[in-house]
Symmetry: C2
Subunit: 258 residues, 2 copies
């Protein structure tokens, strides 16, 4: 088969989940796509922007029947660009935040394919915001630190230990499986009473939140039946959530009743 | 005057500057606005989405003739909501990242006005991405730390000192005026050779970049005549910029010629 005369890849951030949180530029890229390779975390409704002839492939690493290796995805991107022309690689959140988007872009570029990046709204910032939790507030803190819990080695990131000793708001992505271990780190930094929020399915109608403190959040997560994908936010700014005072009050009531 | 029957405020993140990097939801909010209060950093082209009757007010804190106090902006938002109905408060980047957006929302809510937040693409992540610098790359680092250099007190944030001792990619917003002081902190942490990028007007056609190391970046910024608004990125990931090796090579050539 003759390769396409103009193979190209646009790496697009789909945003946190709500399809209307994609950028106009991202939407336009989909509208001109000949093929779309999308992730589990990218909203399916976004595929409706694609033209009728567009080939759509789910290459998500979870949720589906087939688990795709990163090397398979890299190969598919190049194959589709050469076969169809304009490939949109659609990833949840921002494609350059823990997304392996950079690896995909470099792999394609090394094979002579033109690439473009369209940033997305990162869940790390927007999911707390949509729950009314700003990551920084004048007078409370001056920085935020975004980290992942899951390393390729399976170990807990050492940066979480560093972050726990700082005054930054800490956002942990892909950390729910290890929340107990993570909270132990904060406890060993004497941060038992720092407020914590765990938010599942941020920006979607199925959004759920558990609120508590370093000492209590594991129990809250169980009670609220929070599951992945979820984001953990640790810091004084969590107190600004509208339900937080009520929550704190409930804790007092429960403790008094014991 | 009779107050509007349905006063409400939508806090919208305009993204890093390119008007097409606003979200679909943000664009729709502007399309239904009765009044827009916008910042210096929000792209003016976005105002074209507004209906003909919409009142447009520049409340930017720089660049214009008048410098607005935060209290004046808060008051204006409430005044406009009561007078016109749907106010869009349009802010550059994401409205909850060092933006005082939270204060504005709370001020309005306390006066009985309904508020909504539409997140935006934060410059902290997207501006490096558009220069081909991912904030995290598997095998290089596991986290990024976003901080501001400028505190209300005029002091340099203490978090920069903490961040300089970590392995995170560090993004410093509003820091160009203090770049010399900031680099001294990294030097005192023995990070002389860590790569640094300073990016002005990210996402716009006027985008400019200076690349170097902790030891050399101040000179590079002067040579490239980089001015505010600019973002500083410090970390090994900066090496992934397409011009970095060329830059490093040029440094070697220049040093050999001395």
């Amino acid at each position: 088969m003759k390769p396409h005369h103009n193979p190209r890849v646009t790496l697009v951030g789909a945003g946190p989940g709500d399809p209307e949180l994609i950028s106009i530029k991202g939407m336009k890229a989909i509208q001109s796509a000949d093929a779309i390779l999308y992730d589990a975390l990218a909203g399916k409704e976004l595929l409706d922007f694609a033209p009728a002839h567009c080939t759509k492939l789910n290459v998500g690493k979870r949720g589906g029947c087939i688990s795709h290796q990163q090397s398979t995805i890299n190969g598919l991107i190049v194959h589709c660009a050469n076969k169809y022309g304009h490939v949109v690689r659609l990833k949840g959140g921002d494609p350059f935040v823990f997304g392996r988007g950079y690896e995909e872009i470099v792999y394609a570029e090394e094979r002579g394919i033109k690439t473009t990046v369209v940033p997305g709204i990162s869940s790390s910032i927007s999911v707390p915001a949509l729950e009314g939790i700003p990551l920084t507030v004048r007078g409370i803190n001056e920085s935020f630190w975004v980290t992942t819990a899951t390393l390729s080695s399976g170990e807990l990131s050492n940066d979480i230990k560093l972050a726990a000793s700082s005054s930054a708001t800490i956002v942990i992505l892909m950390g729910l499986q290890k929340i107990k271990e993570i909270m132990e780190i904060f406890k060993s930094n004497d941060k038992h009473h720092v407020p914590v929020a765990v938010i599942q399915n941020g920006s979607l109608s199925t959004q759920k939140i558990a609120l508590g403190h370093v000492d209590t959040i594991v129990q809250e997560v169980q009670q609220q039946q929070i599951a992945s994908p979820a984001i953990i936010v640790v810091g004084e700014v969590v107190k600004l959530h509208k339900d937080f005072e009520r929550e704190a009050f409930m804790q007092m009531v429960l403790q008094a009743a014991q």
